[in-house]
Symmetry: C2
Subunit: 436 residues, 2 copies
Amino acid sequence: MIQPNIPDSTLPRVVIVGGGFGGVNLAKALKHVPVQVVLLDRNNYHLFQPLLYQVSTAGLEPDSIAFPLRGIFRKQKNLVFRMAEVTGLRTSENILETGIGEIHYDYLVFATGSNTNFFGNKGIEDNAIGMKSLIEAVQIRNYVVKQFEESLLLQNPEDIKPKLNFVMVGGGPTGVELAGAFAELRKYIMPKDYPTIPQSLMNVYLIEAGPKLLASFSETTSQKTLEALQDLGVRVLTNTGVKEYDGKTVTLSTGEMIQTQSLLWSAGVKGIPVKGIPPDIILPNGRIIVNELNQVKSLANVYAIGDLAQMTNDPRFPKGYPMVAQVAIQQGKNLAHNLRQSLNNKPMKGFTYKDLGSMATIGRNRAVAEIAGIRMSGYPAWVVWMVVHLMSLLGFRNKLVVFINWFYRYFTYERGTRIIIKRGAANIVKLRQSIN
Amino acid sequence: MIQPNIPDSTLPRVVIVGGGFGGVNLAKALKHVPVQVVLLDRNNYHLFQPLLYQVSTAGLEPDSIAFPLRGIFRKQKNLVFRMAEVTGLRTSENILETGIGEIHYDYLVFATGSNTNFFGNKGIEDNAIGMKSLIEAVQIRNYVVKQFEESLLLQNPEDIKPKLNFVMVGGGPTGVELAGAFAELRKYIMPKDYPTIPQSLMNVYLIEAGPKLLASFSETTSQKTLEALQDLGVRVLTNTGVKEYDGKTVTLSTGEMIQTQSLLWSAGVKGIPVKGIPPDIILPNGRIIVNELNQVKSLANVYAIGDLAQMTNDPRFPKGYPMVAQVAIQQGKNLAHNLRQSLNNKPMKGFTYKDLGSMATIGRNRAVAEIAGIRMSGYPAWVVWMVVHLMSLLGFRNKLVVFINWFYRYFTYERGTRIIIKRGAANIVKLRQSIN
């Protein structure tokens, strides 16, 4: 019989579901609070999602942007970590049901984040590729290299084009960064690794439904981003939606059709559904309604933070805060403060979002950033982008390995990780099944 | 219709099957020979197998020991690489049949290496884990972390033991290095990451059928290796064979039974069968009989080198040369020389093996080495082992990243890569299938 085997403690127990930016920052901030923290995640690592696109474009190794949760919390004595998935919730008994057994909580915090939103379009969902998990990023990398290898075996340009048309949907930071990275693959790697394939057969598209790229940025920055991408050879289509995709042809709202076997979808995210939450407080976008204290509506002692939480206390964000790392981090820290206040019978403090700015990289020497009202672009923004991301990475080893990869790439125009790791023998399939 | 699309050339064509140590060294040595080289491999990378065990024990990233074949040969103008698997051979027409179409050859070289040899024991083959491919190594890493995570959920020591008994079979360098790495995991990582699991519940066994470890080394070195492993807490059983394994219990030739869910098999290798080779020249161990010029018996213009080739021209090795990297490298270089001689109508030179020595690492600060008659052990051998392996790694980036990982590990006793990369959504399964 499997049991969570959580050590006994007389302290109030805070159960945190999810080891992303919100969960990790909440857990860390509870280090000196007299509670017992139980952190659950379906994976055993914290993922630094902002650099995920570099894994999918062969710039970084998966492990460089993932950090074992046990490593992060090794010295935090009031915390236990378990790999587990939530299967249900009995709020009347303060019991969380999980795949590893039932866990009692005094405070329960959902920080399960978000997943790709295909907005109910089944054709797209079945055939497009999302960009939210480490395994997706690794598979994209494998898939792209495979498309090139297969293109070598074809003679008719009409057969090659669908393999080398790469279509990104969604003009937010992820789409922009992906499109930039693919354009650089075309510019620097393709002529070296596949000199016999005409470069004209590879095309990178970026499709955005709204009128401009990077919607949350200023007009100037959006315009600079557009120009930088076009300069790299990306075909940017704004005011354009995706109607259908069958794995071979994508049909746009303009009627245009593009033949592609690779549709990378970063046009939206939705809250990951949590089992046991009453359906009436889950919004159509999968987010859960919370008040300004991150308390889940109508459930006592249950909280939600980060992408999953829809909090509408700020008139600047009538539809809730943007689903970005900064909101999750700040809500995690604020909730830790509030739990401490609650234990001391002091009043909790409503959440206020401090926008630290946003940035996106477009490629070598190019990025855009808007920080504290200051707009930057080009080389200075690119340097700021690198420094901020390096500093934010957990762990010295990760920082060093990422830095070396970037440094190496900068001077050699090379990408290290273009290998396809395939599966083979039957016993490996067996192993894999036992891991899933 | 898929075609290999190999550029036209009037030069004689050398087709090399396999991008391991033999194939890569042969191809490189043909750089200035007036031939067209076609290199085929089922993967798109060269794998540095000697460090594979470090991937499986969370010491290194897969990409650190794999190098894209396109990168290696980018500047070699007389070579084309294709990802392909051999499906047949028509020697009467000089045609190699492959998954990407038929390829004409003037000289054909098989350098497909070896795979795990379970000696026909179906129970072991179905349930044990081999250690020959990158994906196997990654899966072992995932599997081991998963065993620890699951052990946390169990209360009864009798349920935990089978998860934390790790049994290596085969006392050659791979088995010794694996056992040492697992013992270090137990010594340095387990107390930090899983302090609540009693260390006594984890046991590392090394089973060897012969009378001593590292059979090809001197008696002194074998003894030192045994002592070093025992010192690390490894239970070494020599003169002991494995009779049966059902995935739960391994039965030894002594009658002893060990409960384990992890049997790592490195007790033997066999040549990977090549389709189209007449069965009568394939030995029971899967190797192909060649003469001292690496010519495959009874087939004109067909050669085999490395692990796959059984050459018995050296009385020191009546059963053929050992299946190690050095033999493959030297045979590849010698064959390149011979092909040049043949083109110039000059006599070919029979292969002679120059034993450069062997080494094995046992853990932190400990290794054994026998080079040019000089026996080393302990710290000096460990330094030599590191330098030799770093120098042998292809590519500056790989050298640097491996060095940093080792350096970091040395001072922190930490292992970077303990994350489990799981598979999830349906579209990823679809992607995977299209990659396989």
